[in-house]
Symmetry: C2
Subunit: 340 residues, 2 copies
């Protein structure tokens, strides 16, 4: 099969890789309908995360089940399925508490690589959620978004306790931040302030339900949020970048007793204890337990109540993955969908 | 009046200070029945927090109202009152959300100093809670504990979401940590693991409801907690020290999706973003909104349902405050009550 492999920073190649096979009896093999490039893929692409030899890339996926292992009970060949970037059994104590991303048996899909024609999905019964029927083609991008960016934005909004009567700030105008805007509105937030200085992203934020746009960043951005919230700060802040500046901007934009939901993968972040202490914010985040939200998100998408697939502003054949990485690296694209 | 003043690290003197007067019409003057020395008073006493000239000390207090300003409506002379270390109006939006410690009008009582015979209490109607009647003398230590250490331990337990079915770990065996044990049990926690290597503190932890004692610290302490929790970590962890080691021990002892309530005043703490991200814990803490809990705590104390006054293991006349500081600094006493 064809699959994307990162050989060195900036060097992604789509090449022949061995077809995946059932290894564990709980595995499934899926044929990908669509896959995509994640903002987090840019960390190793940019050389910020060290590579340890050529690495298969990708962890987002939707597709049709081709084959299942002997112990797979609920997932069947022919089903259209969506899964998260963590494979999880969905039965352990941690999964049952809603944190499938920390399943005691978890497998990181990024180590398998789903920017490819086929993929092995561990713990298939726990990991995969089948759609009620074969979805219309135009729903595929939204279902693919549910696999990571929508699920991650949703978790951020839940962690930030977005809800009725709340003012929610979203720091980060990438695909996850934009999905955070959508999630905050779906959860009933009264006001959603998107922080963005890019016109096309501002437009998408408004489409997803942002009520205000703030273009300032850092201390000026914090000041602007204070002005918009009677000097108190927002009830809820979604952080979807992962840098020191964005984390501090998020914490400082939150009122005492408010909630920060952070999902930007942390890089070189050190939170000062004294400021965190005095801020009195709630802080929760990490790799999202997307699996928890998939049934709900698939339902909303299939009912056409939400359209998160709009985050894909560039679609390329899988073989042109290298161009997709370049487009995202140069911020020419918000998110790139790849067609195997 | 007599009052304690810190002149330099290690140099606490009880000396004549001017009697306080009503400054704002919302002030009250109280005559202290009892006051005490806080673990946080040791930071400037030890020179870790810089002094900017001689500083009046103390922020914990119970006493009888002597006089009130012209705009005080509910508090009356003659009432026995308990207040928190933050004066707060209890009416602003932040107070109403339960974060009186971040009241938009807040005044830090430590800047006024309550290790004294009399004290001015700003925003008296918001800050003070009167007991139903003049309390029996033996209840005074417990009511004094409510002013800070009990209220702070209670907040930590609430922030850590201690409750039925939960395993709660308490890092720190000072008065706040011990009150955190008491609070966790009152909130219904099934199992409370106190981390302590001091026999008298272990005994008090057990008296307050600890079900297990762990003597190991740091990585070994974390390992021991994992062993006691099926390898998963605790649901809830109370952090009541404020150092890098104690914060990391707390975070690492918590299961994914679990809650850390941190109330140790942070000193030279920097939380690594990547570890916090992957830990998937909820983090909440800071200076406790003690005012929120005072009515409930006073009720429990007056009903004799709890006995937090047991944290005071040394009682001295106010004039011997210097000996009280030495006893706490040398860990000869858990907490020192001062009688004006």
């Amino acid at each position: 099969m064809r699959g994307a492999v990162l050989h060195a920073p900036g060097d992604v190649r789509v090449e022949d890789r061995p077809d995946p096979e059932i290894i564990e009896p709980t595995d499934a093999i899926i044929r990908l309908t669509a896959t995509c490039i994640c903002g987090s893929d840019l960390w190793p692409y940019r050389g910020v995360e060290k590579l340890d030899g050529p690495a298969p890339m990708g962890h987002e996926y939707v597709g049709v089940v081709e084959e299942v292992g002997s112990e797979v009970r609920t997932i069947r060949p022919g089903q259209f399925v969506v899964g998260s970037f963590w494979a999880s059994d969905n039965t352990c104590e941690i999964c049952r508490s809603g944190y499938q991303c920390a399943c005691v048996q978890r497998v990181l899909m990024g180590t398998i690589g789903t920017q490819s024609e086929l993929a092995r999905i561990p713990l298939a019964d726990g990991t995969l959620v089948a759609t009620p029927a074969m979805p219309d083609a135009d729903l595929v991008p939204s279902l693919l978004a549910a696999s990571d960016v929508l699920g991650t934005g949703w978790f951020a909004a839940v962690a930030a306790e977005a809800g009725p009567g709340k003012t929610v700030v979203v720091v980060g105008d990438g695909a996850v931040g934009l999905c955070g805007v959508l999630a905050a509105r779906q959860l009933g937030a009264e006001r959603v302030i998107a922080m963005s200085r890019h016109a096309p992203r501002q437009e998408l934020a408004r489409f997803f339900g942002a009520t205000d746009i703030v273009t300032e960043r850092g201390d000026e951005g914090v000041e602007r949020i204070k002005e918009l919230t009677d000097g108190l700060g927002a009830h809820s802040v979604i952080e979807a970048v992962g840098t020191q500046e964005s984390m501090m901007q998020a914490i400082r934009s939150t009122r005492p007793g408010g909630h920060v939901g952070f999902v930007g993968v942390s890089h070189d972040v050190a939170l000062p204890g004294d400021e965190l202490f005095m801020s009195l914010v709630h802080l929760h985040g990490g790799p999202a337990p997307v699996r928890q939200y998939l049934p709900k998100l698939i339902e909303l998408i299939c009912e056409r109540a939400i359209d998160p697939g709009k985050v894909f502003d560039l679609t390329l054949p899988l073989d042109q993955a290298a161009e997709g990485y370049r487009a995202m690296d140069e911020r020419r694209a918000v998110k790139v969908l790849l067609q195997p």
